[in-house]
């Protein structure tokens, strides 16, 4: 039988239909997750300026539309792939799916993303309950906020898995086709990087209280600055995963730049959206004046590109000389140095400039948190370096999984 070479991306390849279905589903999944992320950015500004006068505020509607949409896509993919698996459709077998409970068979990414969406859906009413008890200004570091954010993290990882596996399959057999860019390797690679940005953006949101409200953690007799630790973990892990997944120079830099661009756009537009709805609906603003654009907050996400450049350069330079493990640790340390410096400056400035603590800490409503002591800053930097080295290693392993996994 004469077949067209796989590398030409032939549309008559027996797996092409299956591949297009998965890519379309993955693109829809990332779109829904992005919608939820836009809603989250709007919601943060909504809380800041208008508070929370109902459960289904416009930003909440957007968030939960995204969450429910993502969940339904995952369910649909699991059901369709399970049916195809048992029908022995070409391209749907043990090399392209994982088993769930011995009955369901689907790509790992969609199963993981589905669990993430389910976690977020469960967290929503619990979060509402917590707000009913403790008020509108419950800190982000509250039990059911954390549950929702962990769910989002799981869902984002799932999306990255889904796209990365298609990237591997398209690289190996070329069935994705190169004539159509969006389904070709560059399109899938960009999609996988964008899915990965969601993890970075999420941790950045998660660490906001460490910059504005709770700069240090008291661990027994030791006080430690937290923001460098969390941000280093996120930036180094995702950067290293990006550069190893694609093994292309600049992958980490491009990933963080995409994350920064997205965050900057949402940060730019969210206050405008709040103002439009607030003025039109006759809301009373909680802060003096009207919602306005904070240009420092808009431009700040681009600071995270610097550590990613350090990871890119260090990993690719050291990889030529050293073993993979050593290279990943060195790159992790290289990324953690600028990230630690940036996070420390952000925290020292953030406490006084945002005054978020005045809203979040009613018990000390007249006082901002004290500036962290030098010992806390130094300890935070040391721990961040260690976390950076570990994250480099973990990110390298994650990237390698994404480079090999076809399921």
């Amino acid at each position: 039988m004469l077949t067209r070479p796989a590398t030409t991306g032939a549309r008559d390849h027996p797996f092409a239909g299956e591949r297009h279905f998965r890519l379309f589903a993955a693109a829809a999944l990332v779109s829904m997750q992005t919608l939820a992320a836009v809603g989250l950015g709007w919601d943060i500004q909504w809380h800041r300026w208008l508070g929370r006068d109902a459960f289904l505020t416009p930003p909440h509607l957007i968030i939960y539309t995204g969450v429910v949409g993502a969940g339904l896509i995952c369910i649909a993919v699991v059901l369709v792939e399970t049916e195809r698996y048992w029908r022995r459709v070409p391209g749907v077998d043990r090399t392209s799916t994982v088993s769930l409970l011995g009955v369901f068979h689907a790509p790992l990414g969609f199963i993981v993303a589905g669990f993430g969406a389910l976690t977020m859906a469960v967290a929503a009413p619990l979060d509402n309950y917590w707000h009913q008890l403790y008020g509108v200004d419950v800190t982000l570091w509250a039990p059911f906020h954390m549950m929702g954010l962990i769910g989002a993290g799981i869902a984002y990882l799932g999306a990255a898995y889904a796209l990365a596996s298609e990237l591997v399959r398209s690289r190996r057999d070329g069935t994705a086709g190169r004539r159509v860019m969006i389904f070709g390797w560059p399109g899938i690679a960009l999609g996988a990087l964008f899915a990965l940005t969601a993890v970075l953006r999420l941790v950045r949101v998660l660490m906001e209280p460490s910059i504005e409200t709770f700069p240090t953690w008291q661990l027994g007799p030791v006080e430690v600055l937290t923001s460098p630790i969390g941000l280093t973990l996120a930036v180094v892990l995702t950067s290293m995963a990006a550069v190893v997944m694609l093994r292309k120079p600049g992958a980490a830099t491009l990933m963080t730049f995409m994350a920064a661009l997205f965050t900057a756009t949402v940060t730019l537009l969210a206050p405008i959206a709040v103002r439009i709805v607030g003025d039109a609906s006759g809301y009373t603003y909680r802060l003096p004046g009207h919602p306005h654009i904070n240009w420092i907050q808009v431009l700040l996400p681009f600071a995270y590109v610097l550590p990613a450049i350090a990871v890119d350069v260090a990993y690719l330079a050291e990889l030529r000389r050293w073993h993979r493990m050593r290279a990943s640790i060195v790159a992790g340390l290289a990324g953690s140095l600028p990230m630690t410096a940036i996070a420390t400056i952000l925290t020292l400035d953030g406490i006084s400039s945002t005054e978020a603590a005045l809203r979040m800490l009613p018990a000390s409503s007249n006082e901002l948190p004290p500036q962290p002591a030098f010992r806390a800053i130094a300890l935070g930097a040391l721990v961040a370096l260690a976390v950076g080295a570990y994250s480099g290693r973990a990110g390298e392993q994650l990237g390698r999984i994404w480079r090999l996994n076809t399921r």
């Binding site: 039990p143 009373t284 392993q397 390698r400």
Partner: protein, 189 residues
Amino acid sequence: MMRRWPAALLAVLLLGLSGISAAGQGPIRSETRYAGAYTLRIDLYSDPAFTGRRLNFDVVVDASTADQLRSVTLTGSAIPEVGTNASPLRATLSHAGQPVGGFQGYVTPQVRGSYRLHLTISGPAGTNAVDLPLRVAAPTAIPIWFAWSIGLAPLLGLIGFSWGQRSYLARLQAGASPGPPAASTPAAT
């Protein structure tokens, strides 16, 4: 044993009916407030109110002359008192039809605590405002440690998944095609 289920069904039906009839009963708290030339009788249909549920109320406006009731308007909001970390809530108000000067309204409080129902009446006899204290209850609070246990439970799943991925990576590498030896670049997979 089998004969007990009709009795149980009947009991459930009676309970349901009693709930419906209770909801259809009149207000459980009535207060009168004076706003200039107007007298407002405010009837609350639940006290305390409950978070996430509508607090329905009626307002009957009275005045010394019928002319003063013509084209009367009423606006309202539930304003959180100090110590209640909530946003002000606008009340939804509509004319009740009968009697003249009758209004029906509701607010849906989102946070437990103390509020005041602030009503502003405008009409030919002027504009005035009155306040009525409200209490809003919430479901029983679960212990903080229990809430954190629930909230962080998915993290265990994430950690378990990450742990499993380490062995999955080993299997992936073992299953990868050997290909030519990559001696010059130890990082090559």
